[in-house]
Amino acid sequence: MQTFIHDIGPKRALRGIVYRSPFRKGKITRLRVPALPKGYSCVQARDIPGKSILTCAGYSLPILGKSEVRYLGEPLILFCGPDPEVLAEICASVELKLKEESPVEYKDLSGPYREGQIINVAYGDVDLAFNLADQIVEGEYRTARREHFYPDTQGAVADWDGKNLSLYAATQDPFGLRSAICRCLDLAPRKVRVIAVPVGNSMEGKLLSSFLVAAQASLLAYTAAKQVVLIYNREEDLLFSPKSPEFLIRQQTALDREGGAIAVRVQIFMDGGCYPPKDCEALRQAVHSAWGAYRVPNMEVTGRTLVTDFPPIGSFRASGRAQAIFAAELHSSRLEEIAQLDPYTWKKENLVETGRKEGRNKGLRPMALTVLEEATRISDFTRKYSAYSAVKKRRKTIDQAAYPLRGIGMSLASQDAEGILECLHSIEETRNTCTLKLVLERGKRVRIFTSFVDCGMGIHALFIHRVALLLDLDPSKISVQPVDTQEVPDTGPTTLARAVTVGLPLLEQCCQNLQKKRKTATAPIEVRRSVSLDKLRAPRRGKDKSRDGGAESAWAATVVEVELDPVSFQSICRGVWLVVETGTIAHRKVTLQILEGETLRALGSSQLQEYRGTTSDGRKLCSNTDLIPGAEQVPEIQVHLLETQEGPMKGYEQLPHLGVPPAYAAAVCQATGLYVDQVPITEEVIQQCLEM
């Protein structure tokens, strides 16, 4: 059985609790802590010895609010002590007075906001192209703000012995966390030890909040000079943790007489929340993915982060890119209709470098075409699409249909290699070098030393499998060293893509070195390899300044078939077909499992579940999360891997999140005959579209 953060912490450790603002916005005029019983301590913002702003992967948050509150549930005070019930009573006795301000309630992101970061990308002459256009097609596409539902709540266990801090944390980036804690407590790195504990269901909003809870536990341990266990409860973790940001994307396409796209103008608005990131990778990804897998000769994209009164946002899987590809794919489905082409044909024709007029196959990306063709074939897409289109034409109105409504949708997307390297890069610190170590011990045992943690992505299994293969060893004799910053080198923050594109090559080089050394040296033999990220960042931007098409990008074509009940408009997924080209595959079984699981999660993010929670002060809150399908709701998912035994290994875990939502939305659009331009798609949304 895995040991999670909730399983760590002896009985004698103190328990921590966070006092959070019950107000949404305002200036603090009074914050009074009650008298504390013996053995209880508290920490406020003014007590933080070092930096009070936490930075992680470009996102920043105050560890504790000081003079103002910007979101409901913002942490204000930390308490620790032996009895959780007493701590709850202390929290209930805190006196907080606020000069409350009314948060601005925005219906959508098109309202007037303060702008944060702005990114512009343009090429060609967009204005001229629009002036010459035969037709202009416009669309507005939304992806809603959402919670990330995960069953394991966040927590950390910290111990300060007067000189050194030991920290157990469920984090994907132990060295990044160590730096953040050093900044917060104003300590040298050698005084802070981070031991990474398995992270349940990785990434998403957990990255920033794992840093936050660890910083809070560390501050409490530092103040109390004892071991402190701080575990968020279900309500506070779900309701007050960083969200996946809301996006509003406006697409305008200029078409020539034949219906070919000659220019695209895209405006991207991203909800930066109340603490918007200064340099947002998600926005950058969105801007550079604005026209998805397709080429157009003239393009102008403007992306804006908006400062709103909504809760803070965090780093989520494929953040920015997924939303942009959703908009691009859905918009392209409108263009398919105008051009009177089925999706497969339109996508094939528009994959060219410089537009349709330049010739069908010029600059075609072979892998993209291959996955598209294969997905079309295995899903029987063409026949089903025609059949459902015919049914849609004959049908009068969906709410009086006598039979389930069916539709099928397709999308094409790539997982960009460069983004993976930029991702999780702290703006305050340059960690340009990734290192991995192998030790061959007596008895043909090997230990792998890496900072990549086990986060449900099969990374450790992948590494063990690879070493066993390369060194011809029994896998049961290979292990991954527990991730402890005092024991392992910094291989960088953990993502599957990084593990595959950076970690595995380093591992292979270590294995080669080991093989050589084995011939002359006796165990134990240690080998270590490093790589500079600057060397890996090859120039990828072509004339069109997009990030697609690089040799390191993995491609996927996704087909989703749905059936909607005409009474309730609830949808069930009849099937998902995912064809993935991901270069050399390190471990087929792990790859298939990951892709299947992520497909299911991506389906859930296309739908919605309302989470009901009660805060510790008794308020009932409701929040939207992804729908986690149950065992009986798992559709048929077919994942085909197009394997090549040459070329680099590529990251692929984002592909379902890029491909499934737009394919799902396109399928719902066909099934209902309605233009549904947002995700998650709920029954209420379909009803609204029907009434329009």
Binding site: M1, H6, D7, N233, G630, A631
Partner: protein, 163 residues
């Protein structure tokens, strides 16, 4: 007896135990904190995710929903007890073979749900397995792997006979 504390006698993992606790203490916390049985996990705290499942008198229940006063004279089997059952060995092996779980957080709850099924049905089919797992949420989406593990285990039993 003062109202704050009750004396509870029940069977835990086939052993008689005696516990004094507040009557409103959750069974989940009794297992994790009073008995150190940390295999039972806290997920949603609302009885929806199944991470906290245990067997109570042979039936699966959410331990996050059971107060101490409901435990008197009952038989509780936590995941630790179930893992030591001979009848569950094959399932455990199958899971390990096909790496059925990803992060593993939901695995205890799933195994308890399956144990409850196997107490009533020796060789369940895929639909029955899915129905038994309908109260377990896996955020990693590993259901198909779990179903495959149970079916493989059944198939192995059919081929080689039961122990």
């Amino acid at each position: 007896m003062p109202g704050n504390v009750i004396k509870l006698r029940f069977t835990l993992n086939e052993k008689q135990v005696l516990l004094q606790c507040h009557p409103g203490t959750r069974l989940l916390d009794i297992l994790r904190h009073d008995f150190g049985l940390e295999g039972t996990r806290e997920g949603c705290s609302q009885g929806e995710c199944g991470a906290c499942l245990v067997l109570m008198n042979g039936l699966s229940v959410n331990s996050c929903l059971v107060p101490a006063f409901a435990l008197a004279d009952s038989e509780i089997l936590s995941i630790e007890g179930i893992l030591s059952l001979k009848s569950f060995t094959d399932i455990r092996k199958s899971f390990a073979d096909i790496q059925a779980y990803r992060c593993g957080f939901c695995s205890s709850g799933m195994q308890v749900a399956l144990a409850a099924l196997l107490l009533t049905k020796r060789e369940p089919n895929a639909d029955e397995i899915r129905r038994a797992l309908s109260g377990n949420l896996c955020a990693c989406g590993s259901y198909n792997g779990v179903v495959e593990a149970v079916l493989q285990s059944s198939s192995r039993k059919r081929r080689y006979g039961r122990r």
